[in-house]
Symmetry: C2
């Protein structure tokens, strides 16, 4: 089954916002085993919308649309899609009731242009939107080439236009709760996926390591995704039911885990690297602290993104100046003078000092030159020392990152998390 | 002049990466005064690529393409575009020389499949790529409806397919250095834009305040962009030359600045809110420190993103536990017991304590409940107290943010920057 994704909205055409909806929907469709060969972006314009729908219906079975369902006159997605599908609009009482309830709850007067949102294409399936005012719709396309020339009932239609609201906070839950089950029912078989997340290895080396698996496997398939400092491998199998599909993925996942060893930090799609680190700390009953210079709190901030981190993390330090490194962490003036703040020696003393000052079992120290100024021939911009101290034993690694200030700092945070994971796993 | 943007690549179709290239190109085209009504995404497939190019040429003057210029057999963008434009490929010696030099410098052997990247459509303009191996190309389309039925010289073509590499680090500089000047020369007149950046005011209130200006202006136009905690207004004028265009924007920018007063933090497109804050601190000769609880270092990390922040920022604190708040910042045990860590009183003491502990003139303290747990009826998840202390004078604001942990923390950082800017401006 083929899907085409259409994003409607001037904001995307003008570059005001990045089209994250299309990426989300594509990834979801791939995970369902659906093929997607084309995406379109079009503005709120009747003729261009109609052309986009017709083109998509000519080459795909399901047209997934987000955006343009608002209450204003500009919003034409529903009207145009209904027209292309040959449906007329009629008042949909449950939607009208939901709309009234939504406005009443928020104590906002319901204006007449909102009524428009309660009119739905006849024969369509309306999708509830608990997060906004615009319901979604699944509209059968009676002229679908698999249908009987338009004379059969619409319920036998093989093609559909599915409309969802544009805001990601409304679209995503609607897709997951209503559209995904609809698509899943229509896709031939069940897809089951496991994502093996790895760190401390580059994408090309990672691919090289399982090239034989990628080349020979057709079911399950293996897709590789490169993230900052991480590689994610999604193993997806298709079978008649979930149990069968799961059985197909199991040996491949096992083989990947065997080959990547400690590089694997989770096989749970929803677990991030920092969550894996927090889990390891909890498991081992260790507390942690951070002493950051060039990253200025980014690593600490990312760790605090993990709910429940308070069990293991109490105190952290941003020591940007030499004085702060000396005063808060006890880095010796001699070290700072002789080797400089960006040095292996300083990273060691920062890590030891932070562990002591925070009474923590584990400490991570980052000191480096993020640029644009401050680089020397010996220590160019991008030179970063990261020290990890676990119960009194520390090691420091020197990194030479490239890119601008932002990239160097992001890479430093990832590298620190990778070191932490490797030391704790 | 109409532009259409085509992004080529399976990674985008599969949802592995978000299509930031299209957003960048759209925003750039809008700034040049070009119209963009459609975007397409298509994979590395000859027939689908050819269809996409033909469709785009049927409705736009310039087709901007990124991706699919790599050395492998999968990469068909250049070959297909040349075919659609009726050009054959020939060896382009300068590209071959550049390719050889690129590989020699990196000490990598040049493989035969790389040669493909030095073959260019005849009659096309080749664009250098100092950041990668694939040059860009501007290919004239001889069947352009404004051309003379294909009998005139291609140099008179009015339509073009412009190919650029997919990686943003190669595409963006190529666009800015080579494609933008080409487009600018062809756009009727010159566009000059000023971006007025505001903080501390919502998008709809901001629009309301200048509704009369938006409704009546046609040249310059005013476009509003909502960012987290900020509103950006781009005033763009078109005229015969830059001086004329600048003259047209001036009174509108002046009026907007007058109406928004202290909410305006810059009229420089490239200046961020944290940069504006650092500039104010430097101007007033003040140093700053941060004491963060629920944000865990995010605010500090963002400030350290500003080059040269070391002049004003030396030391910061992440005080996630009550003990850390007491020990590092001197928050009294009585306050923590009576009012709790998430309280106005605690935020005051954190701000005063941080200023003292870091010997800084200004201190910002953030304490709140980012969730998902920890909320109560009186202080639900999203309750955040932010205190700002400037030379011994402090004030605290209570915020009630909605959304998940990430959103609450991001909003807290923005709110703190807004308060800082307002207090220092």
């Amino acid at each position: 089954m083929t899907v085409e994704i259409i994003s409607v909205g001037t904001e995307i055409l003008m570059g005001n916002i990045v089209n994250t909806n299309a990426a989300f929907l594509s990834e979801q469709c791939v995970a369902l085993g659906l093929s997607c060969f084309n995406q379109q972006v079009v503005g709120d314009n009747h003729d261009r919308l109609a052309d986009a729908f017709k083109l998509a219906l000519s080459r795909a079975d399901i047209v997934l649309v987000s955006g343009g369902l608002g209450p204003t006159e500009d919003d034409l997605t529903k009207e145009t899609a209904a027209e292309v599908c040959g449906c007329s609009l009629a008042l949909h009482q449950p939607s009208m009731d939901a709309l009234k309830a939504y406005f009443e709850k928020r104590n906002i007067p319901l204006t007449e242009n909102n009524y428009k949102q309660a009119y739905m294409p006849e024969g369509a399936k309306v999708l509830e939107n608990p997060n906004g005012t615009a319901p979604g719709v699944i509209i059968p396309y009676k002229n679908g080439k698999d249908a009987d020339g338009g004379t059969t009932e619409k319920k036998n239609a093989k093609k559909y236009i599915i409309l969802m609201p544009g805001p990601p906070g409304e679209m995503k839950p609607m897709f997951l709760n209503s559209v995904r089950p609809f698509l899943k029912k229509r896709s031939s078989g069940t897809i089951y996926s496991v994502t093996v997340k790895e760190t401390g290895i580059g994408e090309s080396s990672a691919e090289e390591l399982i090239k034989d698996l990628i080349d020979t496997q057709t079911n399950p398939t293996i897709a590789t995704y490169a993230k900052t400092g991480e590689v994610h491998m999604r193993v997806s199998a298709m079978a008649e039911n979930k149990a069968e599909a799961k059985k197909l993925t199991a040996p491949v996942v096992k083989e990947i885990k065997k080959r990547f060893g400690k590089h694997v930090y989770t096989t749970d799609e929803n677990v991030t690297l920092e969550e894996a680190v927090v889990k390891l700390l909890k498991k081992r009953g260790l507390t942690i602290t951070f002493a950051e210079s060039c990253t200025g709190g980014l690593l600490s901030g990312r760790m605090v993104g993990v709910p429940g981190v308070s069990d293991v993390y109490k105190t952290g330090f941003v020591t940007y100046s030499n004085k702060a490194k000396h005063k808060l962490l006890g880095v010796s003036k001699k070290t700072l003078k002789k080797f400089g703040a960006v040095s292996e020696e300083c990273a060691y003393e920062m890590a030891f000092g932070a562990a002591k000052a925070a009474s923590a079992d584990v400490a991570v120290a980052i000191t480096g030159i993020a640029g644009p100024d401050g680089g020397t021939e010996e220590k160019p911009v991008g030179t970063v020392y990261i020290g990890v101290c676990v119960r009194g034993e520390a090691h420091v690694v020197r990194f030479n990152f490239s890119g601008n200030r932002e990239k160097i700092r992001d890479n430093s945070v990832s590298a620190a998390l990778r070191m932490l994971h490797s030391d704790l796993a």
